[in-house]
Amino acid sequence: MIEIRFHGRGGQGAVTSCEILSMAIIEEGRYAQGFASFGPERRGAPVLAFVRAGDKALKLREQVYEPDIVAVLDPTLLRIVDVTSGLKENGWLILNTKKTLAEHKPKLRSDLNLAVVDATTISMDILHAPIVSVSILGGLVRATGIVELNSLEKPLLKRFGALLARRNKEALMQAYWNTAMA
């Protein structure tokens, strides 16, 4: 079983990230739950979304407390939220940031794996909006290989329709190839 926690801000796309990733995992014939830390939608407020994946039907419906992977959609969250809380030993932290690996790495728990991607710039370039739900997945998939890239196509199409899906796919690939890891 693999558990993932997304940190984002209301309206930024964390729930969409979790939707698309969980759908992609299911498309591969595996089991997944995609869900959010439900609440009244408030734009800008810190939000959590979760994905739980497994090869067998999941006998667990609690929130994710000890994730294997944490993805952070907004670098300013690092100042107000302990994003690595509960993150398993040797777990992955995926950051949307303009800073480099070298700038972040020393501030982190030494056992953690880190991947950084400038998802905001990619989304602004391609989608003309700071919505990083899909570009952050580029970094996450590159670092962890949790799904095949192809498996994301159907969920993207379902979520965005043909035109937007194509642009999001472009953002996904751009992020995928521009992710740095250590």
């Binding site: 979790c18 939707e19 969980s22 759908m23 992609a24 995992i25 299911i26 498309e27 014939g29 089991y31 997944a32 739950q33 995609g34 869900f35 959010a36 439900f38 609440g39 009244p40 999941l58 006998k59 667990l60 419906r61 609690e62 929130q63 407390y65 969920p155």
Partner: protein
Amino acid sequence: MPTRTPMEVSIAVAKAVQQADVDVIAAYPITPQTHIVEHLSELVANGELQAHFMNVESEHSAISAMVGAAAAGASTFTATSSQGLALMHEILFIAASLRLPIVMVVANRALSGPISIWNDHSDIMAERDIGWIQVFCETGQEAYDAILHAFRVVRDPNVVLPMVVNIDGFNLTHVIEPIYLFEQEELGDYLPEHRQSLKLDIDHPITMGPVGIPEVYTEAKKQVEDALINSKQVILAAWQEFGRRFGRAYAPIETYRVEDAQILLMTMGVISRTAMGAVDRLRDAGKPVGLIRCRLWRPFPLPEFREAVRQASIIAVIDRHISLGAHSGPVGQEVRSALYTLPNRPQVFDFVLGLGGRDVTVHDFLEIVELAEQYATQGPPESEYTLIGLREV
């Protein structure tokens, strides 16, 4: 072959309603039921479902419209949550009393106050006695299946009662998971056509809902009670038929790893899956712990329940509603009264948790089992129930 589709549970529920070919939907939006009726209104607007979608000004109107439409012989569906269900209260009894086959989803959510939009069972527990068939679901697949099952049950001429399908708000309604959806042809005649013998028809006028004078009221209530109790046969047969045709069998009381279990957890709804995870851990540690899950809540499956707990010495009942001023939660009360007349009955300890959206975890169940063992050996707690996760100061 059914297609395995990743989707939000609410959408799957709407899909099942579409496949049941309902005639009239009336609903008022309330979190966390909203996605279900939003999707249904889309299906109607797009012409994918030939039904009348009534936008009403309140839940009281929604259920009243359902009563009217059902009385006119239409196949009807509505969905609500929490305050919305509470606003329907007075009409719910009337729907059962008039013997109207309405199907309703309750996306279970805490009742105010304080205001809470999150999941527990306080909304439906306040409506235990409305005379509707009531079932609970644990997964999205079960929710989809339960809707199809519900329409088959209420359309049976031996039932003719309304039915509630309880789907935990957010924790089930808003989760994306794999769901096997049937093609319409695969469903075949599992869903019978909606035909009602008793309906308002100007060519054959009848009176529905006359005054129940004292010389009739008791007999009218007995008729509904008898129909509700007897509906169990149809409910079971429809589940068995579902299993035969589609390979997923359901039962009023379902068990998990109960072989030689001395301690039984008892749950309803989505938290049952987390309880399974807890039971796995305890079994791995060599503890004789099992789980029983109550799927059919009304009519309460008394013989099946008694049979399921026959071997156990301790039952730890989980309640997701606090019954203010009573000695325990509603499920705890039900279980205790179900066992009271038996000569050798297990000890029952009641635990209230997961109120107003507080997450229910594997750890909670481990604590409950530990407490139940402690109560059994060192004497029961001061209070007849234990509030789990309560912070004192």
